[in-house]
Symmetry: C2
Subunit: 377 residues, 2 copies
């Protein structure tokens, strides 16, 4: 079922809502029996997130809307002497981890008979939702900030989505989308609970790829938090089902120019404060007031994790360091790598621990930004 | 061993050569025991081309230079009513199938103690060789035509390779690289036999993903032919080892503006003629005189396949049709899709056959071209 995080009201799974009538954000929770993890069935399953079908809230017989998302490589490597594993989620079909969520959302919407949606995004989620809407045969309108990369915009339009460019901040884009949402479903990846049901498969994959073990620490970029919250949900389900003994520590990385999670932890707050954000090259995590801010703080605190802020210069350096290992990612992902040095210096990760670094978006969508950075250097 | 296709001279595997002393092109062939395909070992192996290690010519103990290449999705779908499977090789680490070959070449060169190489490429191979050279710790210089996409150039430079832009045709780029090759090894993906040892894994994957069966027809773009020849070699090894009963028909797709294979088949030639090529948006197959032209003709004839030429307008249309299914590819890959209608009309593929369409390069590297196409439309 879908349940409101604020007032507790419940809705059936087949109702295509984006939020509770009270305005609160919805979450999926299991009625009766929880998710099932059958290792043999998983191993024999398809090479996509649907190998974990037993843990996905889909009615029997529902045909997945799939483009082969998930089962991305987990690469053994090192970062300035620290042993890490790189989760290459930028090798999802449209170039970001958002495909995990978009696939599940479109599977759910198609089954519910929805014909047209709109969404707002800083780029990656827009491309992802547009691609999966195309695969599902659902009409799609994407609102993006005018500052989003040219590559991201061209990709969204090519999938056949109607592209609406909004001047101003990321938040202005959301406001414009909400105004338009009176005529068609606002299938926002930040709101609809099915998105996290998709991103949680990243946790399942790490568990499978590590030989059915959970890592000690997982580091990822976080703005609206759809990757972080997916990890939290996924690992919790593994622990609840008794197939994993404990949670990994989850670490959220933000740009110092926009770090509400970091501020909230420092100040001991239960929800993120509205911060005055400055521009950051990490556009995927440029979010001053995330919808699921309280849930993100819970994920960090409950797992013994933390949030780290990194400067623009640290992001830039990390991007080059990754590229020179053959890993070409967008600045948002490079931010996560930049945090490793700080975590190690602070004793928050130790040598010998199993540390996973999540690289969530490809550098190929940030070509204009990367080329400009190279010209400056 | 490595053996010359022209004079038959043999060389040991550990000699880092790019061609025979007679100037002929080298091929790898097995001494004594051939490749081994152990299904259980493959299934338990890593999620990369190294799951087929028993069929790769690597000395025991050789550490692979890997970025998680291969095991790309095989997606069930349709094309204008024809049932096809899309092989999404553009989801390799750097955005093209070339990673299969580059990984094996760099593994081989690193084991041979090579410290620096140069290569020439129209873009995808350059990015791939640069990324794997970075992963291997090998210095790398890439010559690319001045007309190559901005995205491809930025990506190559970001991996830390030295980029040399050459005005003129693709062939002018090769000439410039050959001149420079007097001072360091010319590790051209079109020449060194290890590249095909990597691309042949695409055949193994199709066989595994189809439940250890070979398809009826495989359609791919072909210029220098590294994908086509990899398929040919891979399927031959499966048949020789007795784990596959027959070869699929292999179909090479070329741009009508540069179609030497098509001309050679029409004219019954044993090698490709030097054609006067015109510009094509399918830059990855813009090659008027491929090094391994005779071998490509052999692959097409021996399997009962064919070569098809498609117009610029057909490529453009196919690119939109694919994108509107959620498959965002570069024009070179779209060309292969464009050929399906012609093959079907000519009776060269039949409804009910198992047809695989290989999508070899991502649209994210062709953003400038795709955006320009959208602006024109």
């Amino acid at each position: 079922m879908q349940q409101c995080y604020v007032c507790g009201r419940k809705y059936q799974d087949d109702r295509a809502l984006w939020r509770c009538e009270c305005g609160g954000v919805l979450e999926h929770s299991w009625d009766g029996e929880g998710p099932v993890f059958d290792r043999e069935q998983i191993t024999r399953g398809p090479g996509s997130i649907y190998r974990y079908r037993g843990a996905l809230p889909l009615a029997p017989g529902t045909e997945p809307v799939t483009l082969g998302e998930g089962m991305t490589p987990l690469l053994a490597g090192e970062w300035n002497g620290l042993r890490v594993r790189y989760k290459l989620d930028y090798l999802c079909p449209t170039g970001s981890f958002k495909d995990r969520g978009a696939s599940l959302v479109m599977t759910w919407l198609k089954a519910a008979g929805v014909r047209a949606i709109l969404e707002d995004s800083s780029g990656n989620a827009g491309a992802s939702m547009a691609a999966y809407a195309a695969a599902a045969g659902i009409q799609c309108q994407i609102f993006i900030p005018a500052y989003a990369s040219a590559g991201k915009a061209a990709q969204i339009a090519a999938y056949g989505a109607e592209l609406v460019r909004v001047p101003g901040t990321r938040e202005d884009t959301t406001r414009a989308a909400l105004q338009a949402a009176e005529s068609r479903l606002y299938a926002s990846h930040n709101w609809v609970p099915w998105f996290l049901e998709g991103t949680k498969t990243a946790a399942f994959e790490l568990w499978e790829q590590l030989g059915w073990q959970v890592p000690d620490v997982v580091v990822c970029p976080a703005g609206y938090g759809s990757f972080l919250l997916g990890l939290y949900k996924g690992f919790r389900e593994l622990v609840s089902a008794g197939v994993a003994p404990r949670m990994p520590r989850l670490v959220a990385v933000q740009a110092a120019n926009c770090a509400p999670l970091v501020q909230a932890l420092e100040q001991g707050l239960q929800d993120v404060p509205a911060v005055q954000k400055q521009e950051t090259m990490a556009e995927g995590i440029s979010c001053s007031k995330p919808v699921r801010g309280a849930a993100q703080l819970e994920a960090l605190r409950a797992t013994g994790g933390t949030a780290v802020a990194v400067s623009e210069e640290e992001i830039r350096q990390a991007l080059w360091t990754l590229a020179r290992k053959g890993l070409y990612v967008e600045p948002t992902s490079a931010a996560a790598a930049a945090a490793l040095d700080k975590l190690r210096a602070a004793g928050a990760v130790a040598d010998g621990e199993e540390v996973v670094l999540c690289l969530t978006g490809t550098g190929l969508k940030a070509t204009d930004k990367i080329a400009a950075m190279m010209a400056e250097a």
